[in-house]
């Protein structure tokens, strides 16, 4: 039940995720109904959907933080019954530990060289000089970037990102896109990204699904070349339009 129980080789690529006929209800509220989704190992999937549509719930089910009311969630072929040791989830809220300094928050899981790694990743997200601050003095966007650094430093096989860039300005956001894309390309972990920004989805993902009414209303492959610098690419614009229509 902890990371220590498994040996997770650093270089191993991502794991596949599979949800079959998953339903999730809270009391009378049905959030997901008969939901099917297969994410191959190493894929970068973006999930788009209306507010309250069940995206965060989906993430919690994959991470094993919640159990489905029906159906089955599997990672690497095995049913998820508890937290999987190599899944990392960046929550929609930053969830920084208030009594740990920024650097300690990033290296929350410690491990060898954690300070050095935390410092490097903090520099990657543009917060190299805030390592020794308390989280409480950070701005909203800075908190979000600390949470991102924490997720990236943790060497996952599956990385779940729940609106990681929502509080960032356009330029910082693009820098973070590049950072994420670079690390993902290097390490090859499976990625699920929730975003409200359709352009962001198209710019980053291999595949975009639209969540609507508790099921997938659009499942779109994005086969543009990487790195994707040119956002005004007409193919990209067309994809964006398709997605927006499906939402």
């Amino acid at each position: 039940m902890s990371a220590a129980d498994f040996y997770v080789p650093e270089s191993e690529a991502g794991l596949p995720i599979s949800l079959s006929r998953v339903g999730k209800t809270f009391g009378k509220l049905s959030v997901l109904g008969n939901f099917n989704l297969d994410v191959p190992a190493g894929q970068f999937l973006a999930v788009v959907g209306r507010s309250g549509g069940g995206k965060s719930t989906l993430m919690r089910l994959i991470a094993g933080l919640d159990t489905p009311s029906s159906g089955r969630v599997a990672i690497g072929g095995r049913t998820v019954e508890r937290l999987h040791p190599s899944v990392r989830l960046l929550f929609q809220e930053a969830r920084l530990v208030p009594w740990q300094r920024v650097g300690e928050n990033v290296g929350i899981a410690r491990g060898p060289d954690w300070q050095e790694k935390a410092r490097r990743t903090l520099a990657d997200v543009g917060l190299e000089d805030r390592e020794n601050d308390w989280p409480s003095v950070l701005s909203g966007g800075q908190r979000q970037r600390v949470a991102l650094a924490r997720a990236l430093v943790s060497e996952p096989q599956i990385l779940l990102l729940d609106e990681p860039f929502g509080a960032l300005d356009a330029l910082t956001r693009i820098e973070m896109h590049r950072l994420l894309e670079r690390i993902w390309t290097d390490r090859g972990f499976t990625t699920v990204l929730i975003t409200h920004d359709v352009a962001e989805a198209v710019a980053l993902a291999d595949r975009v699904v639209v969540l609507s009414g508790g099921a997938i209303s659009l499942d779109l492959a994005v086969d543009l070349d990487r790195p994707r610098r040119e956002l005004a690419d007409p193919r990209a614009v067309d994809l964006q339009r398709q997605i927006l229509e499906a939402v």
Binding site: S2, L65, L83, F91, V97, W99, A109, W134, R150, S154
Partner: protein, 279 residues
């Protein structure tokens, strides 16, 4: 600004304060005790209260000076303090462990908490016959009583603190692969710390409270013994002296816990009053 300071949070006002204000702030908490002392002295001097029943502060001070000179005050205080600290270490340690285990592990809570809540309610005075039966009349009995006196406040507040940790942080820590030990030491205990420190405050009070009861079991030293002994012969000045020693020990405990709070809760806005210098 005014409205937020309603809850005592100093706003981020960075203007510097004059120094004499800081000094005044340090003295102000003593204002009330000093006023009380002066009123009491006057009342005793003018005969408003019978001096024999309620000796003037100066009489008590004289008793204090006398017992300081002949060393008895120090002997009594040391004897009590030793019992108090041993009891605190044992009872506090066990209470902490029980609080953590019951807070984290539901089966333990189901089995133990209810029983502990029942035992907690038994007054120490009523327990004395059993304590003598089990531990005799030596130091062990006294230390046992202090230990159970200290156990419960630490237990309750640790339990409460562990229980009310932000579940979101626990989730986060689990997702980031912290094992049980790391989860406890890095998330749960620091999060429960403010509450545990409140428990420590209680415990320090209980420590003396139980000790005075414990020192009625065949003791020949300790401030509890000194006070209860003086009480028998209505030596009100010594009784008052004992009360004042207790009050000062209480103040000491308070200062100590505040210092600990200020140190370990640097990150906590409510414990660091910004420029105001805390509380």
């Amino acid at each position: 600004m005014a409205d937020t300071s309603v809850a005592g949070y100093a706003a981020g006002d960075t203007r510097s304060k004059p120094n004499f204000k800081r000094l005044g702030g340090a003295l102000l908490p003593w204002a009330l005790p000093i006023v009380l002392l002066v009123v009491w002295e006057i009342a005793a001097r003018t005969g408003l209260v019978t001096a024999r029943l309620m000796p003037a502060p100066t009489t008590v001070a004289a008793a204090f000076w006398k017992s300081l000179l002949n060393g008895s005050l120090i002997v009594h205080t040391l004897a009590s303090t030793q019992r108090a600290l041993i009891g605190l270490a044992i009872g506090g340690g066990l209470g902490f462990i029980a609080g953590v285990v019951n807070g984290l592990w539901k089966p333990a809570e189901t089995l133990l908490d209810s029983t502990l809540q029942m035992v907690r309610n038994i007054p120490h005075l009523a327990l004395i016959p059993l304590v003598i039966l089990w531990f005799g009349i030596d130091e062990t009995a006294k230390i046992f009583l202090v230990s159970i006196g200290v156990f419960f406040p630490i237990y309750i507040n640790t339990f409460y603190g562990v229980r009310t940790i932000d579940p979101q942080l626990v989730e986060m820590a689990s997702v980031y692969g912290l094992d049980r030990k790391a989860l406890i030491t890095r998330i749960i205990l620091p999060g429960a710390l403010p509450s545990i420190l409140v428990g420590l405050r209680y415990a320090l009070g209980f420590m003396w409270l139980t000790l005075i009861v414990a020192e009625t079991i065949s003791a020949t030293s300790g401030i509890g013994y000194m006070t209860m002994n003086a009480r028998e012969f209505l030596q009100t000045d010594v009784v008052l002296l004992g009360i004042i020693v207790y009050a000062l020990l209480g103040k000491l405990a308070d200062v100590a816990t505040r210092a600990i709070e200020k140190r370990v809760l640097v990150w906590h806005p409510a414990y660091q009053g910004g420029q105001e210098g805390g509380r």
